[in-house]
């Protein structure tokens, strides 16, 4: 992965070396993936916060000594594609292997070296075998709180967004650095949970370290490098072969998104250059860096670009260094897709989740049968804060999702998180933990874009404040001004809306709700695919009978 335009290496033919035949490789890779999956289960089980144990907002990986990805846990969300190997490479650049000691653990949440925002804490542990570093166990996890302003686009600089950890050892030769932990505890709202989650990550790293050592001993391997190269080479070959099916050429697409005001939408623009077994995505022409927390650091831009290509071309292959080698991504510095320090980045997903949609807009020109129309994402989030009757302050998040886009073969799924994978909060739970009465939560009829295949429906949820004291609400909500565009003649999905006391509101501001005030959350519908005239009559009749369309 490179920050600059790279020239793709010629496609190497995947050759079976005598040491790694089809069986040995399969057994070893299965074992390595089961090691990181086992670590992920241990992390989820021991983590304190529901972000880890219910929303899967974490990842565990094993890299070789160069930081090349060998195995990534199966359920980890797209945001973490290629980010941890990149973090390991940043660690290697700062701390030479000769200075690493067995039992060291390094940490960072630097948005540019980590995953793009501060709440994702990354930890890296060198794996020693026969006295030398042979690889790294690494993990990232969204901790419940990292200090700073609570989820909103308000911050002007990353300094406002929370406790910033540069690459540094937090455990040395097995001994925790007490100074670090004390500082961390002091700077976050939920010290027990934040520290508890990082400890859960460390449990996972120890497990990866131990099991990898056992595997190397069992199979008499001195290090991971050769195995990593063999797997990576084969995966790279598969990705290049898949890319080779796309006609050589240049494919461009530009899409406007809500922006900070109606007058000034953001532009996200990509130019794909496909040649042989390589593809280059150039995001030049996208909007400049913003003084609000909706900037998307390069690592996240890469992850979302690569995610779109993997969905379209190689959905079944587990993630590994080679899968992403034929993909180069370029985004101009100081743009919204490659902001520089100290730009605020907390809401990076609000911008980044649009990128796969832009990618499909370009790819549909080349591979129309392998993409999806625009979704009603990004994820919507309603954060409320206030004071409980007993005087204690509280804050709560409620998540809502829009509809998925239609594809060449089927209607879009209704109310489904994409590209992320975050569950909504059950109404019965939401009514217990928040001061809202939820009068309804239902499919938003008619919100899916028409087409040969229809977009998935968004939802309507009506929240009524029951709080004696005022509640402050802030939103992360997109597609309230510019709808998800249709594809191949399909129609656009319906825009979302935040309606307070019956009135459409600008979602970039904070509002105060008093007792009895209503808040209607209307998430966007997905876009349609293909000419509506080609929609199957039976499907159309069923839509009407079921009330999916008006």
């Amino acid at each position: 992965m490179s920050n600059k335009a790279g020239t793709a290496a010629p496609s190497p033919a995947p050759a079976a070396t005598p040491a790694f035949d089809a069986v040995t490789l399969e057994v070893l890779w299965t074992r390595l993936i089961s090691i990181v999956d086992e670590a992920a289960k241990a992390l989820a089980r021991t983590a304190f916060s529901t972000l880890s144990n219910e929303a899967n907002d974490f990842a565990c990986v094993l890299t070789d000594e160069r930081g090349f990805l060998v195995a990534q846990n199966t359920g980890s969300i797209p945001s973490f594609i290629a980010t941890l190997p990149s973090t390991v490479k940043h660690v290697l650049a700062e701390i030479p292997p000769a200075e690493m000691k067995q039992g060291d653990i390094y940490c960072t949440n630097n948005p540019w070296q980590g995953t793009g925002h501060l709440p994702d804490v990354c930890v890296v542990k060198p794996i020693f075998h026969a006295g030398r570093v042979v690889g790294f166990a690494a993990s990232t996890s969204h901790v419940p709180d990292i200090g700073g302003k609570i989820r909103s686009v308000e911050p002007r600089e990353v300094f406002e967004e929370g406790f910033h950890i540069p690459i540094m050892p937090i455990v040395r030769e097995g001994r925790p650095d007490s100074g670090f932990w004390k500082l961390l505890r002091t700077n976050v709202r939920t010290p027990e949970q934040t520290v508890g989650d990082i400890e859960a990550q460390i449990t996972a790293l120890n497990l990866i370290e131990h099991h990898t050592g056992t595997l190397l001993s069992d199979y008499g391997l001195p290090r991971l490098t050769e195995l990593s190269d063999e797997l990576s080479g084969r995966c790279e070959g598969a990705m290049r072969a898949a890319l080779a099916t796309i006609p050589d050429g240049t494919y461009s697409y530009s899409m406007n998104t809500d922006g900070l005001s109606r007058e000034a939408p953001f532009t996200l623009q990509v130019k794909l250059t496909k040649k042989g077994g390589a593809i280059h995505a150039d995001w030049s022409g996208s909007s400049p860096q913003q003084a609000r927390a909706i900037n998307c650091p390069y690592c996240y831009t890469f992850a979302m670009t690569a995610y779109a290509l993997k969905c379209a071309l190689l959905p079944d292959l587990p993630n590994n260094e080679g899968v992403f080698k034929p993909i180069t991504v370029e985004a101009p510095e100081r743009s919204i897709l490659n902001p520089i320090f100290p730009a605020p980045v907390g809401g990076r997903s609000n911008t980044g989740h649009y990128l796969p949609v832009v990618m499909f807009g370009a790819l549909v020109q080349a591979i129309p049968d392998k993409v999806m129309a625009a979704t009603g994402s990004p994820l919507w989030n309603v954060t409320q804060s206030g004071v409980r009757p007993d005087g204690r302050p509280y804050a709560n998040n409620l998540f809502f999702n829009g509809g998925m886009g239609a594809t060449p073969v089927k209607d879009g799924e209704c109310t489904t998180s994409w590209p992320s994978n975050i569950s909504s909060t059950p109404v019965e739970v939401a009514e217990r933990i928040s001061p809202f009465y939820i009068a309804y939560k239902r499919l938003r009829e008619g919100s899916g874009g028409d087409g040969a295949h229809r977009g998935g429906l968004g939802q309507d949820a009506l929240l009524v404040s029951e709080s004696e004291s005022p509640i402050a609400v802030v939103f992360l909500a997109e597609r309230t001004r510019i709808p998800p565009p249709g594809m191949q003649g399909g129609k656009e999905g319906t825009v979302g809306a935040i309606v307070i006391r019956g009135e459409n509101m600008d979602t970039r501001f904070q509002y105060v709700l008093n007792k009895g005030d209503t808040l209607l959350v209307r998430t966007p519908g997905g876009a349609g695919y293909g000419d509506p005239a080609r929609r199957d009559a039976a499907a159309r009749a069923r839509d009407k009978e079921m009330g999916y369309t008006a």
């Binding site: 359920g75 027990e192 959905p315 109404v427």
Partner: protein
Amino acid sequence: MPAYALGIDIGGTFTDIVVYDQETGRHFNRKVLTTHADPSQGTLAGIRLLIEEDKLRPEHFVRVVHATTLFTNALIERKGAVTGLITTEGFRDTLEIGRERKFDLYDLNIAKPEPLVPRNLRLEVPERLRPDGSVRISLDEAAVAAAADRLVAAGCTSIAVLFLHSYINPAHEDRALEIIAARHPGVALTASHDVAPEIREFERSSTTVCNAYIKPMAGVYLERLATEIARMGIKAPLFLMLSSGGLTNVEEAKRTPVRLLESGPAAGALAGAFFGGMEGENRVLAFDMGGTTAKLAVVDDGEPLVAYAFEAARQRRFIEGSGLPVKISTIELIEIGAGGGSIAAPDEIGLLKVGPRSAGSEPGPAAYGRGGMHFTVTDSDFMLGYLNPGFFAGGTVPVHMDKVEAAATATAKAAALAPVQLGWGVHDIVNENMAGAARVHIAERGRDPRTYTLLPTGGAGPVHAYYVAKKLGIRRIVAPQAAGVASALGLLMAPAKVDRVGSVNARLDELPWAEFEASYARLEGECRAVIAETGLDPRRAEVRRLADLRCVGQAFEVVAVLPPGPYADAKAAAGIHEAFAAAYRTKYTRPPPNVPLEVVNIRVSVSCPVTEKRMALAAGAPPVGGKAQKGTRRMYWLELKDYAETPVWDRYSMRAGDKVNGPAVIEERESTLVVGPGAFAEVSAAGNLVVTLP
């Protein structure tokens, strides 16, 4: 006088019928083909056959226990009743909105499971409870009547009712059921609080609707089976195995058939726990490998782990999250796409994959000579010499080694392997798949696989157990007799267990103790009554109290085993708190935060051993005797990296105390136990083969 217990286990292909004499330990069994159109026909014919051929007297039967995958199949094949749903105004889409997550991150054409009730059969009525159970909007009874009429007019024969927060106050659901029952007495009714009295409306809806969907067919089927068995002169009442491994009577099973969904696998896990227990093992990994899948269940302290949720009818069979959530207690097991029929083929990057694609039983592995062209796990087991081409399924299935070789040659070429590499490779890969799944599953429970004993059943289990155990670092394998019908035996030999759950939703420090104790006592009384009905002595029963507890403010519960009752006053609270802390530490490896506790549900589990005698499982016929070693065969051994002439033993000729040194295989009709170099196997006093690994 004999005291026969009759076990009936209806699976996808075969129905196993087992009779076990609780006095002598003798057992008889029959395998008959499952009659899919009406499974009771095959079952009843099988029972008649067994009674006639083995000259058993119907009046000697004291227990009848039944497990079935019938209802699970109805969900998978979507062959249940036309079902309607009546729910709180504003929430008819709960079932379709779901949890808003994907089970596959990269599949753009992902399709979540269709709700069992389509949108036009989901109707809303005005009513609403608050989270504390108080009434916000009273039930609109006329609307309930109108909705029910509409659903019945639309052809519904079963109606589910779910109102928000009914887990804490069932009054509205109860009243709605009364209204509907009065108007439509023939319609099957299910109220959510009766099936899954738990917070989280989507999971509760899904469970309620699953129950409603299978309820009419369950009623007809169970009624007929019970009547016909009684007509044969068998006086003992019919009992059903629940997914939790507990027992229930016909009336309850008809009311909440959703609790029977995993009854077959539960019986298998119980069998694993039982046979492990015979050898003094209380940590057992029950490993059942058949034709298309392998199932693994963890047994701790002699009991299979119980989970309080599972998924039915997965869209993609082995993918978590792709099924219909069902909140019932169920024996926790994982299913892997690894069986004798699993097909080996190189994938897109040239790695050899084994499964989950399966040749099934038709056409089956190449070896069967029924047109199967793919190289499968069973074929590799023949190629490696582990299976005997002349004695497959006791010699009843002819084996075509030429077809095995042809398939091997083609697959080896495609994967750029030498044939011998392929043969061992397939064995090794399928074992790694199962070991990997076991490791992840056991890690999720915070346990170490090396502390377990492996207990293989199913046709392929004993063949693969040895190298799976090696991969997991397991040192001991216990292979019971009759691996093929072990699961049906589990129905009869495992202790009878009856579970009850009740909803409480109160803070521990504010509990009305007299009422709380009375609730436990009532559940215990109900459990003991069922135990007595099954023909066992409830005085021997062991009672356990459990509770779903959580920290106030947390959204998840922990099920803790509580100190025995009675609970007279707040003094009991300390013990309950301690029990919660222990369960919390086990699950999350840290102490719980220091906040007040909430009691969400109470649970009672009463179990009663079938017999006080710890007896051996006697064979139906006396040991054959004669020469135990049948001969030798060339077999491949990893440790030798080569084929070697290896002894073949006859299990039916082996007696307690007989020892076999590895490498060796021990053959019986249903399966073959592989014992690797350096290991040794011994027939235990209880009749099991116990393998100690080097």
